[in-house]
Symmetry: D2
Subunit: 258 residues, 4 copies
């Protein structure tokens, strides 16, 4: 045993046996979904059936948002130089940062702060929200997870919340985010509806994930989207083209009637 | 309409409506798993229930392989400098390349070449495999997807193949990979069993994915693993530690008795 | 001594002493330029005064080319999401690939192939160039390092060649690249002048660098340019802006009359 | 003129003419060193001869520090998977972060804070240093740029300071860093000598660079080192080797007797 010896609690690899957090990978295959395995990997315990369904829905909700996000533009720009798929995807991941995806982590921190304030001062969520929003306003900081340039009523958010109620996952933090939405509207004088990042932030809090993992959810959910864009860029477009950040149109399959 | 206008067939984004390959994201949530949505995103059509199950199993099979793969070591090394989670994960993605994960793409190309040879020369898969393995041998090239340093009988491979049979997905390419395994053993004089990458390669061929997407499967499957390692590095380890590439031990939960 | 022990011939680090290729760093400071130290680092020997001047000129020639190259657009796109400077620069480096900067390596390989053909078949450079250009044409491959979308007569190329003559560095490979330019014009029927990448490729061959290092020269030269663009993006622009790939104008200092 | 039009003050590109901050690149070649051109690029003005020499020395001082820094280990780890040179270097750049190279930016911020405190409160540098060091101590923060695991008396630091005096560049900030070193020793009870990052931080302040560019200096200086390590890894080592982070030895050229 050398001075370098270190420990890891994630995966045990032995000859012909790989176990993630104690669960043999081959035994999980066919029984748990990829999203459930992700929960196990990150939380260290197997999700209930309901939590597993929520995980799938959260990851599906953010799988792609078209060609305009900076992560897609960075990935396509790199792909257009002939760079490998993995390098192009990596460039996209580098763009999932403070202003792009970062609202999940920021939102989680805000909601946790409100919950702590409620406890510390023994006040209602409305009071705690008002106090903290006022403190943020004074510092010129905006609440993350509210408002969207394009979606005034994001259908992904509604679905996340209705599923969370049905699956009995919605808890303290879903109530807090809804409360912040109301207090924010009173304060600002106009509606700043919860966006998909804000909804995910609240759900990840109710699922007891730490805020430091918030950005990771966006990364994990969006990597398949980046793969699709990089593959399209490499197979459909000419190398070194000038990639306009908004002047594109969708020419894929028509919308399915559900 | 400017000179820059371009087209994309992946996702249509309109106010309050996001549709991937024609399917509204909010309608997919709660109905399709993340893995099924990935299939839709990459192939442009919704998978059957069986194909969806196969997708989940493929992605689960490669979700993590402990701390020794270079992608994990690169990600942990970057994380230990205080770099952000997304940057650390990106460094890991950069290591998913020719010799690490690359066997999927190489395997796919090999199996497709054998299938083409069978058609072109109207020969059996055994003959085609022998011909092509001989040609590779002359060039000093080795078949990708066979043999493993540690796993002589990879349980993930067995599970992938048994599921593929059950789900009626195993087709021409599963038969080809099994044939290559036999011919390779005759040629080399010792067993070089199909590894998990070789099995995934055959299945992706039977699912009609192009080889260029092979590496992407490894990237998508392993990103959650990289996230788990980066998070552990950031929360459990001291910054700037010297990370030994093999001298570590697992101290996580004991193996569950299924 | 463990099984892991490995060797490196680049830099020896001892307490209070750091030596690159045998030269103490502190003794190089003040005596050799950064470009000379780069030569030492990569070639393992100290450059002559003339070679050092050539190195400085090569690196200066590619230090920046405005905001339109994909490396700059990728770096700015990532920077605009609030990503750190180093991550943004890394995204730019990922774009320095086959079609962007890659002409140096491809050019070097071409010129070396011509030189080898001359020797093998004991033919003139004109004949060797013709043969190889014809072979490339049959395969649909184009010679790298010739022609430029914007610069018909690149002043950087002229300066590189005039300096190479003055400094007695121009040798076999400069003669070969000039010969290829002529043969290419005859073959294609119009002028495809040597561009800055083609000129650098020839000079790096005459300086006896291996082609595998060709792309590195572009990376090393352009990283300061990427830094300048990322810094400008972070300090002058709004986060998450839509970055048009060509619709920008220069508003910096007027041109100096030297 | 579209809505997208934006401005940049770095480089103007016209047919057959490229000017950085007003200076035609071809006219700089042969006249200014790469390091001088970097100064021009980042500061927007041509350096004096003395400042140019200082720039060369700063960049040379950090060009490489052997194989143990995490940036080198990340780059080599990625290179060993068969990833391209530029991708491997990018992984290394991702590791130049808070705890590795970050001391330059942190040091600059500290020295600027001390200078501001001196002005605001009209106190000596000794008093300002003491106040701010005490404030940092209370918050459990350590001063960046002091102390080194290996080098008790870093010869690069001594050379940087002696050159800065000779070249008349040492100013207010060099005096501040020397003062902090003394006050720190009194406070801590043992010597924590200025390290190379601390010295560079002070010089960059005296050269009037903003702290946000601090990390960039480490990136620009070290990229050639990363290139050398990646090239060595790719040409000398076997793919996928296990890279021990410290158990290596130098077998390059012997030290030159200057």
């Amino acid at each position: 045993m050398s001075d370098y010896r270190w420990k890891t609690a994630i995966t045990k690899v032995q000859p012909n046996k790989i176990s993630v957090r104690g669960y043999p990978v081959d035994q999980m295959m066919g029984k748990v979904s990829f999203a459930q395995a992700i929960y196990l990997l990150l939380k260290g315990k197997m999700p209930s059936r309901n939590v597993g369904k929520m995980m799938d829905a959260i990851l599906v909700s953010s799988i792609d948002h078209g060609a305009s996000p900076p992560s897609v533009l960075a990935a396509r720009t790199v792909a257009s130089t002939g760079s490998e798929l993995n390098s192009s995807v990596a460039a996209g991941v580098l763009a999932i940062s403070r202003y792009h995806g970062g609202a999940i982590e920021e939102g989680m921190k805000l909601f946790i702060k409100i919950a702590q304030r409620m406890e510390e001062r023994n006040i209602t969520k409305e009071e705690a929200s008002r106090q903290i929003l006022q403190e943020m306003k004074k510092k010129g900081k905006r609440a993350s997870g509210f408002g969207h340039r394009l979606h005034k009523s994001d259908p992904r958010k509604d679905k996340l919340f209705s599923m969370a109620e049905e699956l009995k996952i919605a808890g303290k933090y879903v109530r807090i985010v809804l409360c912040v939405e109301k207090e924010l509207e009173k304060m600002v004088g106009r509606s700043l509806p919860i966006n998909v990042d804000g909804a995910i932030a609240a759900l990840l809090c109710d699922l007891e994930f730490p805020p430091q993992i918030g950005n990771a959810f966006f990364v994990m959910a969006r990597v398949p989207g980046l793969v699709a864009h990089v593959h399209e860029e490499k197979t459909r477009m000419k190398p070194m083209r000038k990639i306009h950040p908004q002047d594109f149109e969708y020419d894929g399959p028509e919308e399915k009637n559900k």
